[in-house]
């Protein structure tokens, strides 16, 4: 049949494009000096395996975009990969300040473009719609308007009401972590999920290239069964990387919780640049890939953060 179809259309290549890539190959798409939009919020569903690999590949001079960031940005900053961040938060949720972030901003090594949650989200929204800027009232009167040099002022052309305007976020690459995708790049999330992270879709749509790590690659049939769970149809996606527990140590909705024990250990290591080097050596540079990293965390411990299985 395939032969006769091919002869009818005159094409010999009717195979659907397989967007699966190894972690290392996917991360090679990220160039030094580029802007990277990072999915996830607080200590939830950040594409951590991708971030560890970015450090292994020694990425430099990155500008990171997000709306609510934690260990994801703190790690990249501590590893010296970052020159600027545009986000509303870099901290460790209930574990306090992000030590690497704090040191790098206090020393002037990393520049912060100050955002509130809604201004960062609206900048991604603008990017996802193909707009170059977006109006917002949020920064009026605040330090954001004084200190974020990208925020400018404009009166509404219809009412004369004062607004601030922001340039759209249009990252070179977006990295997000999701639950499943097929090999073609149709990305799905479980129906029961934390809706903070719905912003991930906007982050992906605003970017020029999109790398999605997933807990599991599934068949096309599995996607057909629940098309309403697709958050990104394949034409938004460049690379799919299968990485079970790829958000560790952050949470992955109802699949696994954040690893508070590991994050507390991280905070100890991050207290000084010297001890943080030990963290990077042990958990990033001395492991060849994500599976060796998981071995290091340990099966028993990883099972302890698993959550009850959902039947969708």
């Amino acid at each position: 049949m395939a032969t006769s179809n091919a002869s009818m259309t005159g094409s010999s290549n009717l195979v659907k494009k397989d967007k699966r890539a190894s972690l290392a190959d996917a991360v090679r798409l990220i160039e030094d000096g580029s802007t990277v939009g990072i999915g996830g919020s607080l200590i939830r569903r950040h594409p951590m395996a991708v971030i560890y690999e970015m450090i292994r590949q020694n990425k430099r001079d990155l500008t990171l975009l997000g709306w609510n960031n934690a260990v994801d940005m703190d790690l990249l900053i501590g590893a010296g990969c970052v020159k600027a961040v545009k986000t509303a938060y870099v901290g460790m949720a209930m574990l306090g300040l992000g030590h690497n972030f704090r040191r790098a901003v206090e020393s002037g090594e990393v520049k912060v473009f100050e955002h509130s949650e809604s201004t960062a989200i609206d900048a991604f929204r603008a990017g996802s719609m193909g707009w170059s800027f977006v109006p917002t009232k949020t920064p009026l009167g605040s330090g954001l308007a004084d200190h974020n040099e990208e925020i400018k002022f404009m009166d509404c052309p219809y009412t004369g009401d004062p607004y601030c305007v922001l340039p759209a976020f249009a990252p070179d690459v977006a990295i997000i972590h999701a639950h499943t995708a097929d090999a073609c790049g149709n990305v799905q999330l479980d129906s029961k999920r934390e809706l903070d992270n719905e912003v991930d879709t906007l982050i992906a749509k605003s970017a020029n290239k999109v790398i999605v790590s997933v807990e599991q690659v599934v068949s096309e049939d599995a996607i057909y069964q629940n098309p309403e769970l697709t958050i990104l149809p394949k034409f938004f996606v460049d690379c799919v990387v299968e990485i079970p527990l790829g958000a560790h140590p952050t949470a992955c909705d109802c699949r696994y919780d954040y690893d508070l024990e590991f994050l507390s250990k991280y905070q100890e290591y991050a207290k000084s640049p010297e001890t943080f080097k030990e963290f990077l050596k042990r958990y990033v540079f001395d492991v060849d890939d994500h599976y060796q990293y998981l071995d290091l965390i340990g099966l028993q411990h990883l099972f302890s953060i698993q959550r009850p299985k959902e039947i969708s």
């Binding site: 209930m94 955002h115 201004t119 009167g141 330090g143 903070d196 912003v199």
Partner: protein, 270 residues
């Protein structure tokens, strides 16, 4: 009158008196320890008390989670699995939750900060010169949205001279800015700080000057204690009240029905 109460119970009861029926009330999550009690524990307890006493239609919002059943608290307010499965009337995408602010539908936003000034401007961004900060803090989160758009903000603060300062180092949440009328001049059409709650007192803002004023002192707290722990001049009027003590019925409600496990007011995690 009950004399056997904790300060967080007094505050929860006091906050609840100021919540209005049918209002939407936004509470953030994500902090731990004493900050959790101030930012989440006291506001949530207050919401349930208000629902049970005078505001049956009050709608609490915890990020994307709207109108959760406060009689069936999850065993942890930080575990995504528990939060997602918590009985609630709606779960909406975060970007739409923030649109509720911008649309002007938010009644009360609960906020806090590392610094507050006489006009209720808040700072959670940096201590010291912004360009060369002594301490870089976490960033504005959604505080700028709360303070720009909520009809009023309720501010829960630790009460020390380090926190109550003449001028904040960075305005991450706009209070009355430099004085009366300034919010409107910059284009903020509603909102502003409503009340400030501390372990010593409740403060509000003088209509003429937009500066902070002592509204009530908690039972047993001397005026001098408040003055000594505040880094700017407070407006002290003749009609300072005493914050009402919780009644035994209110205490019973808190301990037996609303927060029997100490999840809210003791920040216990199971």
């Amino acid at each position: 009158m009950s004399t056997d109460y904790r300060i967080q119970e007094l505050l929860a009861v006091e906050v609840s008196r100021h919540l209005i029926d049918e209002e939407v009330v936004f509470i953030g999550i994500g902090t731990g320890g004493p900050a959790f009690i101030r930012a989440v524990g006291i506001p949530l307890t207050a919401c349930r008390l208000a629902q049970l006493s005078h505001a049956p239609n009050l709608v609490p919002m915890l990020g994307p989670l709207i109108d959760p059943d406060l009689d069936t608290l999850p065993s942890s307010l930080r575990d995504d699995y528990e939060l997602v499965h918590w009985h609630s009337k709606a779960q909406i995408p975060e970007q739409e939750a923030l649109d509720v602010f911008k649309r002007g539908k938010m009644g009360v936003g609960f906020v806090s900060g590392a610094q507050i000034d006489p006009y209720g401007n808040l700072n959670i961004v940096a201590i010291g010169d912004y360009d060369k900060p002594k301490v870089r803090l976490v960033g504005p989160l959604a505080q700028t949205d709360h303070c720009a758009f909520a009809k009023r903000t309720f501010i829960t603060m630790e009460h020390t001279k380090r926190q109550f300062v003449e001028k904040v180092d960075f305005i991450s949440g706009a209070g009355y800015l430099g004085g009366p009328g300034e919010r409107d001049r910059v284009g903020l059409r509603q909102g502003g700080p409503g009340l400030v709650f501390t372990d010593y007192c409740v403060l509000d803002f003088d209509e003429k000057t937009a500066r902070m004023k002592i509204k009530s002192l908690h039972p047993g707290v001397a005026l001098e204690t408040v003055v000594e722990n505040t880094g700017f001049e407070l407006i002290i009027s003749d009609d300072i009240e005493v914050t009402p003590e919780p009644t035994s019925t209110q205490i019973e409600l808190i301990r037996q029905r609303i927060d029997p496990e100490g999840l809210l007011l003791e920040a216990r995690v199971q």
